[in-house]
C-alpha cells in the first residue's frame, strides 16, 4: 500500500445502507420489520495519484454503489471520502464544491443509456465545459471539443452527429471525451467495457491506458471481469456483500490469492488456454444483503469456515503488501499457494 499522506483518494469506513422496507402502514398492519440493505458495509480504500484501483466482485456486492458514493451521486450513511485532502461530506461553498466536482468524472457502463439521444455529440461533450465555465468563447469551445474528439480517436466532424449514428464502441469513446471535457484528474469507470464486444473492448482499454499516461489520470475501475482487471489495474480490491475481503497489488492478487473468495473467483475464470485446469465450481450463491450471514459473510460458501468464522467478523490485516480479512489466513489454517497461468503465445 502506498504511504499515507500522499493518497489522492482516501475512503474510510464508508457505509451506505438502503431502506427497502414496505410502506409504514403495511409494516404496522402486517407486523413486518424494517428491511435495510447494507450495500456498502464499512470499507477503506486508498488510491494513489496516477494508479488504477479496481474493484471486483459479483453482482450485488456493492461495487457500483461505491463508485456512485465516491463521485457524490449518493450521500454516504457513514464514513468519509477525501479527494486530494478535501472532505466530500464537509460543507463547502458552491464554488468550492464545483471546483472539486470538476476534478472527478464518471464513465458509465451502458453507452446507449448514458448519452442524451436528442443532443448532438458536440453539445454532449461541450456541456461540462460550459457548466464549469472553462471556455473563453465560441471558437475556443469548438477547438476544445474538436481536440477532445481527436483525443478519443474520433473525427471533429462527428460532433454534428447524434449518438444513434455511432456504434457501441464509438459511443463509449464519446462518453470518455465528455468525461475528459472538464479536465479531471480522477475518473470513476463503472464497467466501462462490459457492454462491448471483445475486439471493441480491447480498443477502449488501450485508449484508457494511453489517456492515463498522457494526462496522469487516476482511475477507480469497477468490473466483474477479472481478466480485464488483471490487464488494467495497479491494485485490486475484492468485494463480497458490501465488504472488502482482500486488497492487493495486481500481480500479488492473481499469483498469490489469499482470501478463499478471491481463490474461488480466480477458479471461475473461463480458461482460454485449456491447460486442463479443472474449474472447481463452488456451490452456493451470494446471499441476500438484507440479512447477511453472521461473522464472516462468506462463511456459508467457504470450505475452510469454522465456528469463529460464523461468529466474529474478520478484520482486514496487512499481508504481503495488501490486506486480507480472513480468520483462516490469520490463524495460518489456510496455506497461501502460488498460482501459475499458461503463457499465451
Amino acid at each position: 500500500m502506498p504511504d499515507g499522506g500522499a493518497d489522492f483518494v482516501r475512503i474510510e469506513g464508508l457505509k451506505r445502507h438502503f431502506d427497502v422496507s414496505a410502506p409504514w402502514l403495511v409494516r404496522k398492519l402486517e407486523g413486518r420489520p424494517r428491511q435495510i440493505v447494507q450495500a456498502v458495509d464499512g470499507i477503506d480504500i486508498e488510491i494513489a495519484k496516477g494508479e488504477t484501483f479496481s474493484l471486483v466482485g459479483e453482482s450485488g456486492c456493492g461495487k457500483s454503489t461505491v463508485a456512485r458514493l465516491v463521485v457524490g451521486l449518493y450521500p454516504p450513511t457513514a464514513g468519509r471520502i477525501q479527494i486530494d485532502g478535501n472532505d466530500m461530506a464537509a460543507r463547502h461553498s458552491r464554488s468550492d464544491m464545483a471546483a472539486l466536482r470538476r476534478r472527478m468524472q464518471m464513465i458509465f457502463q451502458d453507452p446507449f443509456a448514458s448519452l442524451n439521444p436528442r443532443w448532438r455529440v458536440f453539445d454532449i461533450i461541450a456541456e461540462p465545459i460550459r457548466a464549469f465555465g472553462l471556455s473563453s468563447g465560441k471558437a475556443d469551445l469548438e477547438a476544445r471539443v474538436g481536440a477532445l474528439l481527436r483525443q478519443v480517436k474520433l473525427n471533429p466532424a462527428d460532433g454534428r452527429k447524434y449518438p444513434h449514428e455511432f456504434s457501441g464502441g464509438q459511443r463509449q469513446r464519446i462518453s470518455i471525451a465528455r468525461a475528459l471535457a472538464s479536465e479531471p484528474e480522477f475518473l470513476v469507470c463503472d464497467e466501462p467495457t462490459s457492454a462491448l464486444d471483445v475486439s471493441v473492448q480491447a480498443q477502449i482499454l488501450n485508449l484508457m491506458v494511453d489517456l492515463q499516461r498522457r494526462l496522469q489520470l487516476t482511475y477507480l475501475f469497477i468490473s466483474h471481469n477479472l481478466a480485464v482487471v488483471y490487464h488494467i489495474s495497479t491494485r485490486v480490491g475484492v468485494m463480497y456483500l458490501g465488504r472488502l475481503v482482500e486488497v492487493a497489488p495486481t500481480d500479488t492478487l492473481f499469483r498469490r490469492p489469499k482470501h478463499p473468495y478471491t481463490r474461488m473467483l480466480l477458479d471461475t475464470i473461463p480458461d482460454l488456454e485449456m491447460t486442463g485446469r479443472q474449474r472447481s465450481p463452488v456451490g452456493g450463491e451470494v446471499p441476500s444483503p438484507i440479512n447477511p450471514p453472521s461473522g464472516c459473510t462468506f462463511h456459508p460458501r467457504c470450505p475452510f469456515a469454522n465456528d469463529r468464522c460464523k461468529a466474529e467478523r474478520p478484520k482486514a490485516l496487512p499481508i504481503e503488501g495488501g490486506t486480507v480479512a480472513c480468520h483462516a489466513i490469520e490463524e495460518g489454517r489456510l496455506p497461501i499457494e502460488d498460482r501459475t497461468y499458461a503463457l499465451n503465445t
Partner: protein, 340 residues
C-alpha cells in the same frame, strides 16, 4: 469434418441465408452459412454482436422473428429437412428433438405459472405420460440439473428462484423430452462468473451423459474454449473460420480470428497493450464487396476487394481467407508491414 465422417451428422446446415426485407431493401443477415454437428458434439458459434450467430440458431429452431426469413439453403436434422416444415410440424420437433436455452432465464419462463406446471406441460406435450408420471419426471429433471429440494421447489414460481437456479430450470425444460440437439443462445451471459462456471459444468455433464449435441452460441471465447469440441467464428453474417476449438484458439488462420484471440485479456502474460483490430464490423447495409473483413485487414490484397472467399482448408481448420488459397491475396494494396 472429422467428427462427422463416420456416421451421419445430426444436424446439417447448407448454404443457409437469412434475410430481412426492409423499406430500404433486403438485408442479408446470414449469408451462405454451412456446417454440421455430429451426435454428442458441442459446436461453439462465436462472433461479435450483429455477426448473425443468434439468427443462425433461431433459424435452426424455426423461431426467426418476422420479417426475418430463411431465404435459401437447407437445414436437416437426422437427415430430415426441417427448414420448410409447416409451423405445427416444426412445433412438434422443437422441444422433442431440439431443445432451446435462451440468454435471459427470466423472460424464457412464464412468471404466472409454477416451474412444475411449466415442466409438466412441456413433458406431456411431447411424451405420452400421465399427470403423476409427468410430475415424477419433472422432479427427476430438477434433481438432475442440481436444484436442491426439488420436491418442494417444483411448486415455486420463477421469481422465487435466483438467476442461476432459473437458468437450471430452463435447462431442465430444454431437456424434458430428451432432445438430440440443444441450441443454447448465450446461456451464461446474464449470470455471474461463479454461477457461470456451475452452469457450464452442468451443460457439459448433461451432454456427456445423454449424448446430446449442443450448438453453443456466445460471444465469450472463454466459455467456448472450455466447452466446445469445434468452433465456428462468424463475421458479418458469414463463417470466417471453423475448426477444432484448440486449433482455432491457438493457431487461428483467419486474420479476424487472430485479432479476436489477441484482443482477449489473458491471465498468462500482462502486456502493455492488447492487440486491437481497428474499426468495427460493418453494418449489414454497408458490407463491402469481396471479403467482408477487408477494410480492417492488414494482410489484404487486390483480390480481397473484389472476390469473396469461401471456406477453404487452412492448416487444421477451414478459413474463408485468400491467404490460404494457392492464388494468394493478389497484388498488395498497402505497404503495411505484415507481422505474421
Amino acid at each position: 469434418m472429422a467428427a462427422a465422417s463416420n456416421n451421419q451428422p445430426l444436424l446439417e446446415v447448407r448454404n443457409l441465408r437469412v434475410e430481412f426485407p426492409t423499406r430500404r431493401g433486403t438485408l442479408l443477415a446470414v449469408d451462405d452459412v454451412s456446417f454440421d454437428i455430429a451426435p454428442g458434439e458441442v459446436l461453439g458459434v462465436v462472433g461479435e454482436s450483429g455477426a448473425g450467430k443468434s439468427l443462425t440458431g433461431n433459424a435452426i429452431i424455426g423461431l426467426l422473428e418476422p420479417p426475418g426469413r430463411v431465404a435459401g439453403g437447407e437445414i436437416r436434422l437426422e437427415g430430415r429437412r426441417i427448414d420448410n416444415l409447416p409451423y405445427e410440424e416444426m412445433r412438434k420437433i422443437r422441444g422433442a428433438r431440439i431443445g432451446a436455452i435462451f440468454q435471459d432465464p427470466l423472460t424464457s419462463l412464464n412468471p404466472l405459472y409454477s416451474v412444475g406446471r411449466q415442466l409438466i406441460e412441456t413433458i406431456q406435450t411431447h411424451m405420452p405420460l400421465s399427470a403423476s408420471q409427468a410430475k415424477a419426471r419433472a422432479i427427476e429433471l430438477l434433481k438432475e440439473v442440481g436444484i436442491p429440494g426439488a420436491e418442494m421447489r417444483i411448486d415455486h414460481y420463477p421469481h422465487q428462484f435466483s438467476g442461476g437456479m432459473r437458468q437450471r430450470v430452463v435447462i431442465a425444460l430444454a431437456l424434458c423430452a430428451g432432445p438430440r440437439l440443444i441450441v443454447a443462445d448465450e446461456p451464461t451471459t446474464a449470470l455471474d462468473v461463479s454461477i457461470q462456471a456451475q452452469i457450464i459444468a452442468l451443460l457439459k455433464r448433461l451432454c456427456r451423459e445423454h449424448g446430446t449435441a449442443v450448438m453453443l452460441v456466445t460471444h465469450d471465447m472463454g466459455v467456448i474454449a472450455e466447452t466446445a469440441d469445434r468452433v465456428a467464428v462468424m463475421y458479418a453474417g458469414r463463417v470466417a473460420e471453423i475448426g477444432p476449438v484448440r486449433e482455432v484458439v491457438k493457431h487461428a488462420k483467419h486474420p479476424y480470428t487472430k485479432g479476436l484471440m489477441g484482443s482477449i485479456p489473458s491471465l498468462g502474460v500482462r502486456t502493455d497493450r492488447l492487440t486491437q483490430i481497428d474499426g468495427a464490423m460493418p453494418r449489414l447495409t454497408e458490407i463491402p464487396p469481396g471479403c467482408a473483413f477487408n477494410p480492417r485487414c492488414t494482410f489484404k490484397g487486390q483480390r480481397c476487394l473484389v472476390e469473396r472467399p469461401n471456406l477453404m482448408p487452412a492448416g487444421a481448420t477451414r478459413a474463408a481467407c485468400w491467404l490460404h488459397d494457392s492464388g494468394g491475396v493478389g497484388a498488395p494494396i498497402l505497404k503495411e508491414t505484415v507481422d505474421a
